[in-house]
């Protein structure tokens, strides 16, 4: 299970390492879109868009919905949470450190007064 999570994180990072895929995610964060709706803004061919979408889907970053004949892609909310969870302890560590810096600055200022 732990190894599976690590592999999923590897895939997510690989997917995010490409600027076009990051742009697609940004676009999907606004609203779901089909392959043809994604072709226009990115000026890419249908196979190229599909290839990027496949990488994003395998990384668990997006999902494919179903609306009549359409198959709109949308962001998968849980996968972005995984990434956020993963970085959270690091953020907390630095926040605590910078809180200390602020408190120390205050105490130095008081001593000088």
């Amino acid at each position: 299970m732990v190894i599976e999570q690590a592999q999923q994180l590897d895939r997510a990072f690989f997917a995010l390492s490409d600027p076009t895929r990051r742009a697609i995610l940004l676009r999907l964060s606004e609203s779901p879109a089909t392959v043809s709706e994604l072709m226009d803004p990115f000026a890419l061919s249908q196979p190229t868009i599909s290839k990027h979408l496949k990488v994003l889907e395998q990384a668990g970053l997006i999902e494919t919905g179903r609306e009549a004949q359409k198959r709109p892609r949308r962001l998968s909310p849980t996968s972005m949470m995984d990434l956020a969870d993963w970085i959270e302890p690091f953020r907390r560590q630095w926040d605590a450190r910078l809180d200390n810096l602020e408190a120390h600055l205050e105490s130095v200022k008081k001593q000088e007064q």
Binding site: L9, D10, F13, F14, L16, S17, P19, R22, L25, L26, L28, S29, L75, M80, L83, A84, W86, I87, P89, F90, R91, R92, Q93, W94, D95, A96, R97, L98, N100, L101, E102, A103, H104, L105, E106, V108, K109
Partner: protein
Amino acid sequence: MSATTAEAGFSLDRAANTIRFKRRLAAAPDVVFAMWTQAEHVSRWWDPTGEPLTECQIDLRPGGAFSFATEAHTDRPFAGVYREVSPPSRLVFDAMGSVGRVLLSEAPEGTLLTVEIECASPEHLEQFVQMGVAVGTAQTLDNLVTYAGEA
């Protein structure tokens, strides 16, 4: 999808493999610069737990080394080499395979502090944060032990 939270002053810039922290501090840039570069000051705030450092060595010049050891990890100090020392606005160092930048600029009521940690690649960023996570987790456990001991 951006992990940016403006109010918290933390952002993950995946395009630049950089983690960025921003703070406004109520002191002039030269005072804040001293906090980052003088051992007696660094020693008082570096450890996220708030404990003073057990070791704090600073050779403040480009190419000079530094080493900060916390009580919990005396054997694994945060060590590196200064790359640029430009008071009161810029301090750049190499540490743990990443580049750290401390950028200070004058703000209306003091200083805007930006701390950047730039990794070589997304893989490295991942590795780096995982190390941080490991340290953070150890710290949480340490705190728990301390708390349990006091209770």
